[in-house]
């Protein structure tokens, strides 16, 4: 019989490797000293947080959510309410309660509060939504996104309706985003190896047997929904500080599409897949953006039509779904090279036709 270390020891490699990747990217960025590149990497780190947040719920529960960007919206506006200068709030958002107008917190205090605000709404929505399964659950999360968007687009005295809310303190320093992205990765890992994560994945793979094993499926889904609501809410708060401006439509269909496509390409049931999907597709988006602007190739101007970026994302996502539905990572996690070899030996007797998502930390 094989002796096995604790769950933490067996799985700790994944968050360490992913955090090291993020740190390497950050160090390279600082070393390059380029301001536009700095802003690009901030965008990448925000996407890492978003997609990792999506993974926490979608990856472990197997229920597709179209609604999480709603929590990003809640987090972003909550951060705006907490950090804008009181005078600007008084003018732009007079409907806010007096104490909130008077409040002005540093961004790093406001961000976790904003994330918690989003998580509270995830809990409230989740109490209802987590009773649904499959496509019904997915459509209900989409309805939730639409509701949040419509409320924020029309409640002008509190959200400024569709006009931009400006005056949010801008944070251009890279490190807060690095720390937040690593924090999100660690949270996702901790949830995945927790008892809640274990039960949720069992319920995803074999719901009937999971129930017969004493697992309360709606409850475990709710736990993941709230945790992922917190993470996507935190991403929203920092998104607000990265731009200094928010509108409700920033956090709607385009962002949902982008985040989901990155998760699908990376591998829906793998934390490593979530992070790598962001890194790979962000690189591609950057290249396509460059091409949309036009590149001079020895006298010949190479330029692609605008909008090709989204189209390319769509094509890649469809191709992945057709040819490698478990994504780049094939639902595996990044581990130390030695452990991988041992694992490969373990997995040898498995049937090679198995395309079921595993997503299980081994």
């Amino acid at each position: 019989m094989l002796r096995r270390g604790s769950v933490v020891r067996r799985t700790i490699a994944t968050p360490i490797i992913l955090s090291a990747l993020i740190l390497a990217l950050a160090i390279f960025t600082v070393w390059s000293g380029s301001r536009p590149f700095n802003q690009t990497v901030i965008d990448v780190l925000l996407r890492v947080m978003l997609v990792v947040g999506l993974y926490i719920f979608i990856g472990n529960s197997g229920v597709l959510s179209f609604g999480h960007i709603g929590f990003t919206c809640l987090g972003a506006y909550a951060a705006a309410w907490l950090t804008m200068p009181p005078m600007m709030k008084g003018m732009m958002l007079p409907g806010l309660p007096g104490w909130l107008i008077a409040t002005k917190l540093p961004y790093w205090v406001a961000a976790p509060i904003a994330a918690t605000f989003a998580a509270v709404f995830a809990w409230l929505f989740g109490l209802v939504l987590m009773r649904l399964s499959g496509i019904a659950a997915s459509i209900a999360t989409f309805a939730m996104l639409a509701m949040i968007n419509k409320i924020y687009s029309n409640w002008s005295s509190v959200t400024g309706a569709t006009s931009s809310v400006v005056g949010i303190p801008i944070v251009r320093d890279l490190w807060p985003y690095v720390i937040a992205a690593i924090l999100c990765i660690v949270i996702a890992w901790a949830h995945a190896i927790s008892r809640a994560g274990l039960k949720l994945r069992a319920a995803r793979d074999e719901p009937v047997a999971a129930q017969a094993s004493g697992i309360d499926i709606p409850r475990e889904r709710l736990v993941a929904f709230v945790v992922s609501g917190w993470v996507t809410g935190l991403a929203g708060a920092l998104f607000a500080h990265s731009l200094g401006v928010v509108t409700p439509d920033t956090f709607y269909l385009a962002m949902t599409f982008m985040a989901l496509s990155m998760l699908v390409v990376g591998g829906m049931s793998s934390l490593s897949g979530a992070v790598l999907g962001v890194l790979v597709l962000s690189l591609l988006i950057q290249l396509l953006r460059g091409l949309e602007r036009g590149v001079d190739m020895g006298g010949v101007a190479l330029k692609i039509p605008n909008g090709l970026q989204e189209i390319a994302l769509g094509v890649i996502m469809i191709a992945i779904l057709m040819f490698r539905p478990s994504g780049m990572m094939g639902n595996r996690e990044l581990v130390w090279p030695r452990a991988r070899r041992r694992r490969a030996a373990d997995a040898a007797p498995r049937s090679s036709t198995n395309t079921q998502p595993t997503g299980v930390h081994r």
């Binding site: 019989m1 094993s213 004493g214 007797p349």
Partner: protein, 250 residues
């Protein structure tokens, strides 16, 4: 001493009566057999007893007291466990984790769940399979793992849904020995649903025969063996065949 019972349980699916007024009980340490032709309602009854199916009429009772309407996970936490036709293991997890998840589902810490899982595999005699991925196991091992999973947390009752299906005679004999130990050594009440009538007659203290959703006969093996009603309903055209028969195909 505990008793799990069905009290005049009826289930109707859109007008179709799957069960009508079924009453039976299983006591700690006893093995009760549930037999009947395909479509008789055996699995429906197991689903009712384990909370997967709400009865249209009647109730499930524990020690004579009707249980409130509970979800399957709550029924399991009250000590009523089951297996499924076809195993339904967590195929991508190693055997040991299949049992561990169930311990955790029942509220144990991971360490406690793993410790119990190891002891359970040992007790069943499949400790060497601990690290095998469940989806790669041969049929008979899969069944034994499923039984081990159902026994996690020491339930008071375990409902086995066709555990011997597809097994050879020696394998079925080994399974019989295991079921005897579950009742004898663990003191579990066992409800055994089986197509293999020979196995049921030889193992069970009491046998209930279902046909078209109703109990047509019950009693000790001798009564069932001698019953004309059972012979008719259960054997259909093969009325002259002597029981026990090794296996009845649907």
């Amino acid at each position: 001493m505990k008793t799990l019972g069905a009290d005049r349980v009826s289930v109707a699916f859109a007008g179709l009566r799957a069960l009508s007024g079924v009453t039976l009980s299983v006591a700690s340490g006893r093995i009760v057999g549930l037999i009947g032709p395909n479509g008789a309602g055996k699995t429906t009854l197991v689903n009712v007893l384990t909370g997967f199916q709400a009865p249209t009429e009647g109730a499930v009772t524990l020690d004579g007291v009707p249980l409130p309407k509970l979800g399957p996970h709550e029924v399991r936490r009250r000590g009523i466990a089951r297996t499924f036709q076809g195993g339904r293991l967590f195929r991508d997890l190693p055997v040991i984790d299949n049992l561990e998840v169930t311990g955790v589902g029942l509220g144990q810490s991971r360490a406690a769940a793993i410790a119990e899982a190891r002891a359970m595999l040992d007790w069943i005699g499949i400790a060497p399979l601990a690290e095998r991925i469940a989806g790669t196991l041969p049929y008979t091992d899969e069944r034994r793992v499923a039984i081990g999973r159902a026994l996690m947390g020491r339930p008071d009752f375990v409902l086995l849904d066709e555990p011997a299906a597809g097994m050879s005679a020696p394998e079925a004999a080994e399974l019989s020995a295991l079921i005897r130990r579950i009742a004898g050594e663990m003191g579990c009440g066992v409800l055994l649903i089986e197509h293999n009538v020979g196995l049921v007659l030889q193992l069970c203290d009491h046998i209930v025969v279902l046909d078209s959703g109703s109990v047509i006969e019950q009693g000790p093996p001798g009564v069932i063996r001698a019953s004309d009603k059972v012979r008719h309903a259960y054997m259909g055209t093969a009325a002259e065949t002597d029981l026990p028969v090794p296996e009845i195909e649907g």
